[in-house]
């Protein structure tokens, strides 16, 4: 028996964001998202950030339904304020756990949040410990399946980019500088704009660093190499 399901639940996403790509470097994390929200295959809203700064230690980036993410931003803000009442800042692991439970609870109600979330950050104690300072990237899928990674690409990027990102990660033996990590992400974005029709060449790279804290990156653009288009005969 159906009860207005399709009217009151996100059983199909409406306005969506595509891939998120994130990578650890020695003392932090860089996260890249493009700046478009699509309505089907239409680039419906441009110049929209898909990253949310929680506090100086945590950054959340998302793929999937934009409305659900805007609602989630509010939930996250309230959770962060709840921690502030005890003079604490919510850390990435705690937020990752909280969001995992939230997404899992919603799927159990058959009323899912249509998002893939990337929680990036550094724990406060790790931040002060210059020796280990291990950054954190946690992924949560729509149904509450959660795991931690050193580098990740979600959405279409999971099919297109994961291996490319992993190869460049392994080439450096995991010991990677921030500039190198950013270069890998930019190369990855170049690959998505060639292959993913809902990806855009307007993007931003947010970062969490043990010294600088969270920075939402400024808007950037890449063109890529379209010389191959001359030889493509499938369009005029």
């Amino acid at each position: 028996m159906m009860h207005h399901d399709e009217l009151q639940r996100t059983l199909n996403p409406t306005c969506t964001g595509t891939s998120v790509i994130a990578m650890q470097y020695k003392t932090g994390v860089v996260v890249m998202t493009d700046r478009v929200v699509s309505y089907g295959k239409t680039a419906r809203y441009k110049n929209v950030s898909r990253q949310y700064k929680v506090n100086d230690n945590v950054l959340v980036a998302f793929g999937g339904d934009h409305a659900d993410f805007q609602w989630l931003q509010n939930v996250i803000e309230r959770q962060a304020l709840f921690w502030k009442r005890f003079d604490q800042e919510i850390g990435p692991k705690a937020l990752h756990g909280y969001l995992t439970s939230l997404l899992y609870a919603r799927r159990c109600k058959m009323n899912p949040l249509w998002n893939t979330l990337i929680v990036a950050g550094i724990e406060e104690e790790e931040k002060n410990n210059k020796e280990t300072s291990t950054p954190f990237i946690g992924v949560i899928t729509q149904k509450g399946c959660a795991y931690q990674v050193k580098h990740v690409a979600t959405g279409i990027g999971a099919m297109l980019l994961n291996q490319a990102v992993e190869d460049s990660w392994r080439k450096k033996g995991g010991d990677i500088t921030r500039a190198e990590a950013e270069a890998v992400l930019k190369k990855a974005l170049e690959l998505t704009i060639y292959h993913d029709c809902t990806a855009d060449n307007d993007f931003e790279i947010g970062s969490v660093d043990s010294e600088d804290g969270v920075n939402l990156g400024k808007e950037e653009t890449i063109i890529g190499d379209w010389s191959i288009a001359e030889t493509n005969c499938q369009y005029e």
């Binding site: 028996m1 159906m2 009860h3 207005h4 399901d5 399709e6 059983l11 199909n12 995992t100 899992y104 799927r107 159990c108 058959m110 899912p112 992924v139 899928t141 149904k143 509450g144 399946c145 959660a146 795991y147 931690q148 990674v149 990740v152 999971a158 099919m159 994961n162």
Partner: protein, 260 residues
């Protein structure tokens, strides 16, 4: 009702019940419009499960239990989410939970068990034994009989008598204590191998059967996963090995496996 005060005739049709009937009919029509064919309904139904693949396996010995799993998490059977997923969870010094299936449920199940074990420790000031935990897990699985945890659980550890124990479950809590068990996508490949090598089911009754030592169990486990990784695409990347021996701390190891 208070109809008599409002001047509505007692004997005529009751406007309230008519109104409620109309509302109910509206609601029903809205929920199940005639143009929604069964195919459309089927297409719009959302599947709350996904499958992250992989396999786990456990062997019980005289005074040890050994568990292994691969560390790959997959999406749609073809796309690797991560090469370092954790399918095995050490619950206390003598209990290990190994699960495959829907990873969201795996995490939830782990969390539920951990909190129950924590409370047990608080209440009784000792760790729960593996037999009790096995029963607890069975009931937790059956509690969700009509919206099951989609997990193939294997619980293993050292019991109160210092013997190795392996418990095998189906998704809704059917429990059995057995000598060895496997679950996950490569289960049909691993189980007959262990039947042959540990159960000795293919040997005649007179044949000499080698005893199961920890070394032999470990190498069988490695062989089982290496051959499973040859043929089963969601199994691979790393073997995660956990060895629990009576009176010793739990040991963990990671061994390489094919990554394609």
């Amino acid at each position: 009702m208070a109809c008599s005060f409002t001047g509505i005739a007692k004997n005529g049709p009751n406007p309230y019940s008519e109104m409620f009937a109309f509302k109910a009919a509206m609601k029903a029509a809205e929920a199940e419009p005639v143009w929604r064919t069964s195919r459309i309904i089927e297409r719009q139904r959302w599947n709350p499960y996904s499958f992250e693949g992989g396999s786990t396996c456990a062997i019980a010995g005289e005074n040890f239990a050994i568990l292994a799993s691969d560390t790959r998490l997959t999406q749609n059977d073809i796309n690797i989410l991560t090469r370092d997923g954790e399918k095995m969870h050490i619950l206390n010094d003598s209990i290990v939970l190994a699960t495959t299936g829907f990873y969201g449920d795996v995490l939830q199940l782990k969390k539920v068990l951990q909190s129950r074990l924590h409370k047990y420790r608080f209440d009784y000031r000792s760790d729960m034994s593996v037999d009790l935990c096995a029963e607890l897990l069975s009931r937790n699985l059956y509690y969700r009989r009509f919206f099951p945890y989609y997990t193939g659980a294997v619980l293993a550890g050292i019991d109160e008598h210092g013997k190795g124990a392996v418990f095998s479950y189906d998704p809704i809590g059917c429990i059995e204590r057995i000598a060895y068990s496997a679950s996950g996508n490569a289960e049909p490949m691993i189980i007959p191998f262990l039947d042959c090598q540990i159960g000795h089911v293919t040997l005649s009754d007179e044949a000499e059967k080698p005893p199961l030592t920890l070394e032999r169990a470990t190498s069988l486990m490695k062989d089982a996963f290496r051959s499973a990784a040859e043929r089963e695409i969601t199994t691979g990347d790393k073997i995660h090995l956990i060895i629990a021996e009576a009176g010793k701390p739990i040991v963990q190891k990671f061994l390489p496996l094919r990554e394609d």
